[in-house]
């Protein structure tokens, strides 16, 4: 068994097994499941990182059955980087969730609707984690579809764990978008199979799809994935869903789940289609710019804390699409700075946004409300959460020292190298808008008014989880060398 085979098995079947353990819903087993899931993915992704750094991209035909009939896993730098950041965010969010739901899980399901959340969050989240890891290691289109559906179903279920009517409606809407998006993707898969008779990403990349049917297939898949990634103008479902979920759920949805469909888009456009069409790339970039501006403006207008953060996700996802037109300046050439810069932004967003949602969760946990006006003064009571939110915001805004800063530096560099002047302005202005809405929250939290009387103490572990995520985003701004080197293993064209 090679290192690739060992660790990719651990990374996928660890959380899957853990979710089965957690299904039993006994508090001890819930905790055991979260620990098992976290440990297996952390260790597994570290092992894969090492293997990829040593030997370059690798593969794992499951059970010895390779393509076309068996399922094969493909392990390259991009996938492992996403795997690793998911493991870090996931482990800390699990730690957080354990305390967040801790005092609820003792109640019986019937007694407390929140108790239901406590029971089912862990198994759903571990299943979701399995699906994400599966996406990052998939080597064929259909495997991507199956993992994508598991991801979408478990994510929608997590939203509806919250008891409010709004959350249920948001979850329903999210599920419908997600199902339609997946089926549009499957339509594209079917069309590609009609044309080429293969599902293997590698095989398709070797053929180099072109012509009308593959183009329609790409368009269908892109619309489907863009809807699931909440790319402007398909973003309207995201804020209610992400803001409606329980705090650890919001962190997972905003930081990790949208990255799954983003990952598939990158794989399709670059790894499989070799860049697609320049016009298509520019269109995606324009939509991304629209997301940056529109999402930021809407974020500024929110009166609820989690809403604001959710709209910020819409805006920040826009940056990831600005990478698209910058990556391929000329056919068959790719710009390494755009690649590493764009993905560093994706990774820094995962860390920072998780930190911010968890910190916001702490604040509203403490005051039992989510309105911006009601958190006034919490900074004095929850300095660590405040710190986590601030540092997370710093990274989103691209201020040093943070992963967001180095990511933006690289992305700007690629824009200069490819003489794309418009994107330079978009990237710069987006950062300023980010500062504006982050500051809005900080100002409320810092308000001079004394902290509210009925202040619920927040478990230390919840504070630490948020702060550690923020610190990770900062640390990556001081040392991104290894991660950048990892991202370059295979690059956008691993085959």
């Amino acid at each position: 068994m090679t290192e690739f085979e060992l660790w990719s098995t651990v990374v996928i079947f660890g959380p899957l097994l853990a979710s089965v353990v957690a299904l039993s819903a006994r508090p001890a087993l819930l905790r055991a499941g979260l620990v098992l899931g976290s440990l297996s993915t952390l260790v597994g992704s570290a092992g894969l990182w090492r293997a990829v750094a040593l030997y370059g991209p690798g593969r794992h035909p499951l059970g010895g059955w390779g393509q076309p009939l068996g399922i094969e896993l493909w392990i390259d730098g991009f996938g492992v980087a996403m795997l690793a950041v998911t493991a870090l965010v996931g482990a800390l969010t699990s730690l957080y969730a354990n305390s967040y739901f801790g005092d609820l899980s003792e109640l019986s399901v019937r007694d407390s609707p929140a108790g239901r959340g406590a029971r089912f969050f862990a198994p759903l989240w571990l299943l979701l984690w399995t699906a994400l890891n599966g996406i990052y290691l998939s080597a064929d289109l259909f495997n991507l579809y199956v993992t994508l559906e598991i991801l979408g179903l478990s994510a929608a279920a997590i939203v509806t764990l919250a008891v409010s009517r709004q959350a249920t409606v948001a979850g329903m809407r999210y599920l419908l978008v997600s199902l339609i998006g997946s089926l549009l993707y499957l339509l594209g898969v079917a069309l590609l199979y009609v044309q080429y008779g293969t599902l293997s990403l590698e095989g398709l990349a070797a053929i180099g799809p072109s012509g009308p049917i593959p183009a329609i297939a790409l368009a269908a898949m892109t619309v489907g994935m863009a809807a699931k990634t909440a790319l402007f103008p398909f973003h309207a479902w995201l804020p209610p869903a992400h803001a409606g979920a329980p705090a650890p759920g919001s962190a997972i949805l905003s930081a990790l789940v949208v990255k799954g469909s983003f990952f598939i888009l990158v794989r399709l456009w670059f790894s499989v289609y070799g860049g697609g069409s320049p016009e298509g790339l520019i269109l995606l970039g324009v939509l991304g710019s629209g997301a940056i501006l529109w999402g930021s403006i809407l974020a500024l207008r929110q009166v609820s804390l989690k809403r604001l953060i959710a709209y910020s996700t819409v805006a920040q996802l826009g940056y990831l699409f600005v990478m698209f037109p910058l990556l391929i300046p000329e056919p068959r050439l790719w710009n390494a700075d755009a690649w590493t810069g764009g993905l560093l932004l994706a990774i820094s967003h995962a860390l920072a946004k998780a930190a911010m949602f968890l910190a916001a969760g702490n604040m509203s946990y403490a005051v039992a409300e989510d309105r911006l006006t009601s958190i006034s003064g919490v900074a004095h009571r929850l300095p660590m959460s405040f710190f986590a939110f601030g540092v997370g915001g710093l990274s989103l805004a691209g201020l040093p020292p943070s992963a967001g800063f180095v990511g933006k530096w690289l992305l700007l560099r690629s824009a200069f190298e490819t003489a794309h002047w418009t994107w330079i302005a978009v990237i710069a202005v987006g950062g300023l808008l980010t500062i504006a809405y982050v500051l809005k929250v900080l100002r409320y939290a810092l308000d001079r008014d004394e902290a509210p009387e009925d202040f619920r103490p927040v478990p230390r572990r919840m504070e630490w989880a948020a702060a550690l995520l923020a610190l990770a985003a900062m640390a990556l701004g001081v040392r991104a060398l290894e991660l950048v080197e990892l991202l370059l293993v295979g690059g956008p064209f691993p085959w």
Partner: protein, 115 residues
């Protein structure tokens, strides 16, 4: 037009009609049904695919895919119906409210895909 092309065409037409229904029908059960139908349309295309390319060789892959797809569709439908029942229980109506009541800005302008 040979039967295989007919299958393909039917599949595409069913998918598109179902997509249209899923986007425009307001009733949640209609939406869930339309999504199911959309899946069926895609399965039809998948089943027709191998015979269109290489009529003489049997290809087991589409069968496997469609079987998996059906399992996924069953799970998705179950979850969707479950959540839809909760929506009805909470709001008394089998519809998704227009726009998002708590929202300050979007006003339901975008995101047609969700309706």
């Amino acid at each position: 037009m040979n039967p295989v092309d007919l299958y393909m065409l039917a599949g595409i037409v069913i998918t598109l009609i179902a997509l249209y229904a899923a986007l425009t029908r307001a009733h949640l059960f209609w939406k869930v049904l339309a999504i199911n139908l959309m899946g069926t349309g895609v399965f039809l295309i998948l089943l027709a695919a191998p015979s269109r390319r290489t009529p003489e060789i049997a290809d087991p892959l589409p069968q496997a895919m469609v079987l998996t797809g059906i399992v996924v569709a069953v799970a998705a439908t179950a979850l969707a119906l479950g959540i839809a029942l909760r929506v009805i229980a909470r709001s008394g109506l089998p519809f998704l409210p227009d726009g998002d009541e708590e929202d300050q800005g979007s006003g339901g302008s975008a995101g047609e895909a969700s309706r």
